[in-house]
Symmetry: C2
Subunit: 229 residues, 2 copies
DNA sequence: CGCGAGCTTGACGTTGTTCAACTAGAGTGG
DNA sequence: CCACTCTAGTTGAACAACGTCAAGCTCGCG
């Protein structure tokens, strides 16, 4: 973990929602006081149960958002890529995180004090609506997840996870950043069964897999499998 | 379903958060224009996929909030009792409900136009915070639900559901308003297995059950079962 | 009296987890 | 450079957990 204080929004090339809101409000950019932090792979960006003090925005890299379950078994809800909020769920929520986030690779985030955010959305209604939207997408994807995890068989769940990763990468050919165990946690199944299904899909010619390099050969079929589940 | 327009907040004995916020803001109570509706048992108060237009507050009765899954199988997330919001999740969320709510008995609700709510929370910061809190409780209970449904065995899940119903009723002796099927949906298990576990608990002397009349005899043990899952 | 909805129980088959063993590759220290 | 260890991945087999199917039961209501 490496802090870098004194970052200026003007120097940042993201131009995030917060930046936009500040500009629209005619507020002073110097007031934002963003705090950039770089996390190494496996480091915790946020931890279930800890207090929420900042809005966190992913600037670079990727991270997994997961709930810590029983006997050290986790369930990954989704993967965070640049330009997504962490801690927003919790921001709207309670003073404590109800999930954990950890870096999947070297990941840079930007922290903004919650008090500043609150001040901002009271001045700027559009900003609040945009926050709500980001938020709402999370909620409905979680609802979807509950159904998937409880009502689809593991074959359908793995298919869905692969399609999800594909959509994140905007490509049918990409590297799954996750270990087999993590891929399993994304579908709430055991590591062994994850592997079994991957080889099954490969034998059936639906995917091509070499280590972590995945190529979805028959997307239509994979979607079918994911739906029928 | 029976509408009653022209209800006055002054005549309503609930004195809900909205009422309080209006008073605190010094706004005009006549502006609220609440719409009271009475639903019969089994009627849908809100329906997954439909647009969200009002904040809904449960005035009297009870309802189940559930997600509609595959093959007509639902998962009940929680039971709504008076003084809880419906449509708040969605209000903060997206223009569409990501779940359904239906009445478990004759249930009266109060609808307030969302535009009015928005106007209100922009004026009254406390009100917004209170909404957020109600909201946050939902989110963290949903996180909990995901773990429970995926990592506990059915024995633990049914135990948890019974304890949940008990806490709703503030008593160890109460009537489960739900059918066996619905009780199963609360734990995402089949109706048959729900029944099996109920009789199992009864034989073990943990509960006493007569039709829908439930008496939790050994709460400690039930909690233990729910935790070990 | 008969019908249907909700409830109950048993038997059976499927699904997914767990345990155990083995492999391959990466890193480490002698 | 080789032996080691550690981690990630892979596979098989046994077992446990649940869901499903089928049948029967009870109670309220027409």
């Amino acid at each position: 973990m490496k802090f870098s204080k004194g970052v200026k929004c003007l120097d940042c090339n993201l131009k995030c929602d917060i930046y936009k809101a500040v500009i629209e409000c005619g507020a002073d950019l110097d007031e934002v006081k963003p705090l950039h932090v770089i996390y190494k792979k496996h480091e915790n960006i946020s931890k279930q149960g800890r207090p929420v003090s900042h809005a966190i925005y992913v600037v670079d890299g990727s991270a997994k958002l997961y709930i810590e379950g029983l006997n050290n078994r986790n369930i990954i809800l989704y993967i965070l890529k640049p330009q997504s909020y962490i801690g927003l769920l919790s921001f709207f929520e309670s003073p404590f995180y109800s999930y954990s986030v950890s870096a999947l690779e070297e990941t840079q985030i930007c922290m903004i004090d919650l008090d500043f955010i609150k001040k901002l959305y009271l001045q700027n209604h559009d900003f609040l609506i945009r926050l709500n939207k980001a938020f709402g997408k999370s909620v409905s994807s979680i609802m979807n997840k509950i159904i998937t995890l409880n009502q689809k068989n593991i074959r359908g769940r793995v298919a869905e996870s692969l399609l999800y990763l594909s959509s994140l990468n905007n490509s049918e050919k990409f590297s799954i950043f996750l270990t087999r165990k993590e891929l399993g946690e994304l579908s709430a199944i055991s590591e062994e069964n994850t592997v079994r299904l991957l080889t099954e899909f490969r034998r059936e010619g639906i995917i091509d897999l070499n280590g972590k390099e995945l190529h979805i050969l028959d997307k239509k079929l994979l979607q079918k499998i994911s739906e029928v589940g």
